[in-house]
Symmetry: C2
Subunit: 305 residues, 2 copies
């Protein structure tokens, strides 16, 4: 790709810092400046060579590309602070895990400059946070979803797509509504469920005994409950419409399980087994897909309700 | 330990086969015989050197130690089939993930021989099944819970404890009621939740897209949904009282999340954050405990309701 002059990273954590490192390793950016709330984290990013200088939000707004990689709840304020200083050819993009709310905030704050904004979501992360968690290969072979709007400047979207490809990612495009539904289902709901379970168990009278006997199944099931509470609070609230839809479908499933267990006549036992059989088949097919590239089966064929 | 003459494994899968391999590797058993429903699996166990001979359930009942390592729903029939042929000094033990139901079944079927039964639960496993999944080190540093009853012959319990220690495990003792509550909380409920989520998503109209964008958080959260549907159906039904108790506490938590998301006034957002903060702190403390041996914090101090 054509080298970017100045890349500004707003929020130099795992997501923002790793993009900076990836582009630096490919010599795809001349300089990287970092903006953030925590001086200690910025100093660390500087010491680690993730950024070349610390900048104010006003300075960042004049960069060639601005990557807003903060928790989504901070983005409206950041867009508003950048607006009066925004370069005429600056491209803004984001790394938020929700898209409809970020797009609405950008449209409101950036007004006539909104076409310079390219909404995006890199599907990558670990439960670690902060500049020290960043690494150059985080995005290799990961998906990045672009949700361009009608107004988005095509060449701006192309630049951002090329930048992510340079970092090793594959680009997928979908609407913001689709995006938010998909990630409510496969990411936001699982996080809520894991946080809720660990919180519940940690507050029970026999919590010490529970955690003492928890084993590898529990470890993997709850790994995502070790993530950033602030980030996941923001995502849960930002995507609450799609999340509540998935949550309430799930609550209906759990209510069915409760009825089956309350009266485990042959029909109840058969219903539990049928659900476990479908789940196990789907999970194992998906595992073969992600591990060995086997095609996914046609899911939900009989259930297009 | 004193060498066991004949060990009979009823159900030569991951759990049964791995104990046989562990004891053989320590020369702690003279011969191992295997009993099972699947001739192909028994042939494989024989070929892999897990067992030395295939036996009938009647023959197995005369062994020095019988390890019943089948899904728990099969145990009542197995105990009943062994009873008329049971050796006077044969010790029976099991590897079931639920204890109250197995103990009730053993008490009913074995009658006056019930003191020869030592209820146990090795806390180990993978999502793989069958003799070919077995390996000698499965139980190293794992916990085995013994739930002896008032009638259990002390020397029989000691023999079983010693046998598990020889396989590398640590022995813990608790009552069957305690056991079933603990494992409903940290194992049976997480499995039900993972199965239910994968089944739900696999049946939705946009399931293909969901599974296409599911990433590493989803992978770990749902790993346990790849387990044996039959085994987990049996466990769910066998431990349904304790499981429903945990499930309904959890449903109450999810209902609170739904209310907070429906009306994300500052209080709702604060409640979501508070739950995520507690969960994340507990999960990360537990991770440090299992990884680095750090002591667990005192959980649930303010909530002994």
């Amino acid at each position: 790709m054509k080298q970017i002059g100045t890349l500004a990273i707003v929020g130099v954590g795992l997501i923002g810092g790793s993009l900076a490192l990836a582009l630096k390793s490919k010599n795809a950016v001349r300089q990287v400046v970092g903006v953030g709330r925590s001086q200690a984290n910025l100093d660390e990013a500087l010491a680690l060579g993730i950024i070349d200088a610390i900048a104010s939000i006003e300075e960042a707004a004049k960069a060639d590309v601005v990557f807003v990689a903060t928790p989504v709840a901070q983005m409206p304020t950041i867009f508003a602070a950048m607006k009066p200083h925004l370069g005429a050819s600056t491209i803004i993009t984001d790394g938020g895990s929700t898209k409809q709310d970020v797009i609405a905030a950008a449209r409101g704050a950036l007004a006539e400059a909104f076409p310079q904004f390219v909404p995006a979501h890199p599907i990558a992360g670990t439960e670690k946070t902060g500049a020290k968690a960043a690494f150059a290969t985080l995005y290799e072979k990961r998906k990045v979803v672009l949700c361009r709007e009608g107004e988005t400047i095509p060449s701006a979207a192309d630049t951002i797509a090329e930048l992510w490809r340079t970092a090793g990612a594959e680009i997928h495009e979908m609407s913001a509504v689709e995006h938010d539904d998909v990630f409510a289902a496969v990411s936001h709901l699982p996080h809520l469920l894991a946080f809720a379970l660990v919180d519940m168990l940690s507050q029970m009278p026999r919590a010490d005994q529970y955690f003492n006997y928890a084993a590898s199944g529990f470890r993997d099931f709850t790994r995502i409950a070790g993530g950033s509470p602030e980030m996941w609070r923001d995502i849960s609230v930002a995507n609450r419409l799609a999340l509540r839809e998935q949550l309430n479908l799930y609550r209906t499933c759990l209510s069915a399980f409760d009825s089956w267990l309350a009266n485990p006549a042959p029909e109840g036992v058969a219903a539990i087994e049928a659900s476990y059989v479908r789940a196990s088949a789907a999970r194992n097919a998906w595992q073969r897909h992600i591990e060995h590239g086997e095609p996914l089966p046609k899911f939900g064929a009989g259930h297009d309700g």
